[in-house]
Symmetry: C2
Amino acid sequence: MTSETIEDWRRQIDEIDRKLLELFNERSRCAMQIGRLKRALGLPVYQPEREREILENAERLNQGPLDDTAIRRLFERVLDEARSLERLAVAHDGPAAEAPASAPTGTRKTR
Amino acid sequence: MTSETIEDWRRQIDEIDRKLLELFNERSRCAMQIGRLKRALGLPVYQPEREREILENAERLNQGPLDDTAIRRLFERVLDEARSLERLAVAHDGPAAEAPASAPTGTRKTR
């Protein structure tokens, strides 16, 4: 009976993971659009003050149970992937000073 | 005008990040419940076959634009945090074979 309950929580987690997957990809589509606009405007992909803002917002709004350092680690990963995709968006639109065509996969972190 | 559009995409990202934050924490509450149940049943916190299932589900359902390796990196981070919290849940309930009281913070990865 208790092991059924573990299954119940796991089904909830599977449902959450489907939403996370959708949001990760939705967020990436936004990041790619921003990458294209930055390129059109000649702006750098990496804007540290915006990344700082994102991390600060996440920590400020965090109500747990994850602590702020865990939230920061999660959003740092999200930001890493967004940055890679923005670079890819820039590179796909043609050569740009900041992101040569070979850079996006090369700059991706492997764990 | 174009820089306003960057702002529009950023507002969308902020909205997505609020949902991500909520889901990360909701997922963690589920993981803590599972941690407590595992302890009651004498099961180990780390169950590699379940983690593999989670990663496989994410990759199977992924429709991009993030590629499967990016999705895997994101969910590996999510799993790392879940494992830490499960251990914490186990430790808070009292001493357990797998997770001494000092383990949870000590095993947390710093980046």
